[in-house]
Symmetry: C2
Subunit: 551 residues, 2 copies
């Protein structure tokens, strides 16, 4: 594992093969024709043009932090600070391209272990310095933006050195990790023990285990492995008032599950330093395949039938007509006209792609589970497109962030947002959000594409994940998206959706959290924060949206 | 549904057929020989001998409460108050038999709906009266004991009139219930819609849905249907600071899951008035069968293999050698000697009974799931005892509380306690708790029986449920058990078990909660309580064990 990370100014994955970040000419042609996108190329500005003000960290605070972590682990250079200036939302990426101002930490502090994290927090309280816990930096909701709140300085507390697998219990199938371990490293370390977490969100290549916990992450295979919160057996958290250790047993009725108060707390209550996680044997058989169903309603009914009969594949993902079309057109590997003709001949006029993927222990298990799923699917008349489509999706499944950078280069406003609702509410919610986005993203002569998919299905409902492609406003690129985001969030809370199914709250969703949990719910979160972080040093402005501590 | 309930002084289920509450002579003979139990019969004292002090509820408070719920719904008669004086723990039952003092509410208040519950709370705050929310009254940890704390009076807020099924959403498979609905009524109401909750704890016949939520209940079929907390989609709670409505979506990342703070809150933060619950189709096929495995270790390994391969039956229950012996001896339906000889001939010297039960939609599903489970079981060399054993268990599965009353009559100290731990820790924990109970329960010439079973298994661990049978100390019946309970709880926290897997904390486990969640965890709970119940009217003395509000 690396001790230092390469946070380049570019938002994309640094390990990306160049070929994957390429937009084929035919795809660009299609995009221009479909959305009205102009021909201008707007490449990323060099990082050197970005304004970075001097560090405001007071010398005595810097000295005190260096006493905890060592002088070499308190970084105030431009590159280190810019590298932790926000996450990967469209707005963050556009700020890195010179639109609007980045919130840049005054220093980056790199503790080595949970004890140092605890002492860093105590030092920050003593010197009244704000602390933004920083893992993989993949937040798309402003969760790691270095806001100072009412403090005069803010540090990024980067957990990259908390990169150890502490222990594995093969009998109980649990593993103890430090919170700064990145997902690929976790999988590599676990593979030596023949086990896996099975948590594969799109941020997989860079995100950390601690980040997964505090944002209530959900992976692409969560139908099989569960949401990240369901894997957390125990948690250790440093707070300004001391350390908490919660959980450790498979189930309990010893009062409310306080683990669940830490999970999703987005760095407001403390810094998660260690996690005990459930693991499973590495699957020996992986099988992905693609189907097409006729129309969104039928597709959603099919996924519901799978979820409610508990025959979901480990990966179950339904794209709507727009997303299916874009997938076919942008992938480049498909003869789209021929495919559409074939589908029409099979009775499908509104193609919606369904990817099913199983990751299991044996061919026997695959056969049993696949048969049960296809048995349930049959009455929805799916057309099988075979394993190639499934494999195409699987290979590209972490490529979204890379493709986004390329789209930004050609002038696209590209962003995602997501929600979840009960099945009976899902279609109305989807219509409302899609309408809000199309209406608000449009500029003169442009035709935005708003795609949607279900990536996570439950017995009582499902998530909806929207991706927008629109010609970017040259005059007001941030405002264009921010207005669309407001319209979408209003549609979500107006139609009983959750403000986030797996992206968390951060800064961007904070104005709508009250609509979901009520003013009293916000007050409960503030009461907990007040108890654990009375001076309000931790992650100001996130989750409950307070920039200043309450009395 | 009944508007009033028959809370007799006797702890047993009022609807019990007399035949089920009978201890056959051969069973009593065996019990006497095995434990050293004497021949004295100690029947329950008539309720009329119990001391019931006058109600301390001030007239103005009573008038104010009557203004909210109506005069007829504020009860101060002896029978009503005695009927809500505690739950069904051994200590509670012994107090009803004249050993020690009952905590009796000063009045019983019966609100009609969530709005009245809200106004009752506000009235109690205004008049500084303590409130004990009361559902089925089946707590075995002192959770509904009518403690006054620092208040001059205490009411039992009985939710029996909140007995409605509000709505069913057949598409999303959810149902909205008022919190006072009893489990059998819930099942009857849902059956009309072809669905079920599938929640069958031993308290099923009397417990309420609200009680299940606030105690984090787990049912006998929780391997199939999940713990109750996993069924809760949404919750509505009245608090002295106003109403909270939480949840409603299948999954979310909108901050910490505050539903989970309500679940397990044991009436300290508010009164749950309404629940949105996941439902499933009524199973069309039920199949129970019994097996015997040789020795606890092998049995536990077998259950672990089922849990970790996710092939658990919906009901999976492993008894240790002592519990298996008692089951055979007390059931009366078995020719025990012949059975033991048969098992010995099959190579089983330490018989441990394993009950597997499936409740599924079709014979096909039963065949698939049963085959998968038996495939996993094979290497543990189970001896099948067929469906009769399974059916015997199923028919008697709610009979424990009734049988307990009969055992109390013949002078037995009979009580249960439970915990959970990771698989690697389970055997050491079981040995420690069993040893602590045997050592501390013994009196001169007696040989206590301590039985144990696993009733809930998870990928990372399992629950342990202990039942004790010991000759009751004539001099100090409460002290005998209370010392044993302390010894068992110390063994649990000393061996990394949870202080409760599904009985909750109440009064009895409050001294050990800090060992599990830390002092800071207790402080977080107190901070939430302080915010929602600043004057501390709600359920004093429970969960965090505070008898008085904190500053």
């Amino acid at each position: 594992m690396t001790q230092r990370i390469d946070h380049t100014l570019r938002g994309s994955w640094t390990s990306a093969p160049a070929s994957e970040a390429h937009l084929p000419p035919h795809a660009l042609r299609w995009l221009r024709a479909r959305t009205g996108l102009g021909a201008a190329i707007t490449p990323e500005a060099p990082g050197s043009v970005l304004a970075v003000s001097d560090s405001r960290l007071a010398p005595d605070a810097r000295t005190a932090l260096a006493e905890v972590v060592g002088d070499a682990q308190v970084l105030v250079d431009r590159e280190a600070r810019l590298g932790r200036a926000g996450g990967l939302s469209y707005v963050d990426l556009m700020r890195r391209r010179g639109a609007g101002e980045l919130a840049i930490p005054d220093a980056v502090v790199l503790p080595a272990d949970p004890e140092q994290v605890q002492r860093v927090l105590e030092t920050c309280v003593e010197h009244d310095v704000a602390v933004v816990p920083f893992g993989g930096g993949t937040s798309v909701v402003g969760g790691v933006n270095a806001l100072r709140g009412t403090k005069s300085a803010v540090i990024a507390l980067d957990l990259v050195r908390l990169d150890q697998l502490v222990s594995v219990d093969p009998v109980s199938r649990t593993a103890v990790f430090r919170a700064g371990v990145r997902a690929p490293d976790a999988e590599r370390l676990l593979a030596a023990h023949g086990v896996t977490l099975g948590h594969f969100p799109q941020s997989f290549e860079r995100a950390t285990l601690g980040g997964f916990a505090v944002t209530r992450s959900s992976g692409q295979a969560s139908a099989g492995y569960g949401r990240f919160e369901e894997m957390v057996v125990g948690v250790r958290m440093a707070t300004p008032q001391g350390e908490m250790r919660l959980g450790g047993v498979p189930a309990s009725a010893a009062g409310p599950d306080l683990k669940r108060l830490v999970i999703g707390s987005e760095g407001l209550f403390g810094v998660v330093t260690e996690l005990t996680l459930r693991v499973r044997p590495v699957p020996r058989v992986k099988h992905y395949e693609g189907f097409v169903l006729d129309g969104w309603e039928r597709g959603a009914d099919a996924v519901r039938a799978l979820a409610q009969s508990r025959t979901l594949a480990d990966i179950t993902r339904l794209s709507d007509v727009d997303e299916t079309e874009v997938s076919f057109e942008l992938s480049g590997g498909w003869k789209v006209k021929g495919l559409k003709a074939y589908l029409r001949a099979r009775g499908i006029s509104q193609p919606c792609m369904l990817i099913l993927g199983w990751e299991v222990g044996s061919p026997r298990e695959l056969a049993t589970r696949r048969a049960a799923a296809l048995h349930k699917l049959r009455r929805f008349r799916p057309v099988g497109l075979g394993r190639a489509l499934g494999e195409t999706w699987r290979k590209g499944r972490f490529g979204g962030p890379r493709q986004r950078d390329v789209l930004l280069d050609v002038g696209v406003c590209v962003e995602t947002l997501e929600t979840a609702a009960t099945w009976s509410n899902l279609t109305a919610l989807r219509t409302a959000v899609k309408g809000a986005l199309v209406d608000s993203l449009g500029t003169a002569g442009s035709r935005p594409v708003v795609m949607c998919h279900i990536s996570h299905a439950y017995e009582t409902g499902a998530s909806l994940y929207f991706t927008t492609l629109a010609p970017r406003s040259a005059e007001d690129p941030l405002g264009q998206w921010q207005r669309a985001k407001v319209a979408a969030c209003e549609a979500i809370v107006g139609h009983s959706g959750t403000i986030s199914h797996h992206h968390a709250v951060g800064v961007d969703h904070a104005p709508w959290l009250g609509a979901e949990i009520g003013d009293l719910g916000l007050e409960v979160l503030r009461a907990v924060k007040q108890r654990l972080d009375p001076t309000g040093v931790l992650n100001p402005g996130k989750l409950v949206g307070d920039a200043e501590p309450r009395p």
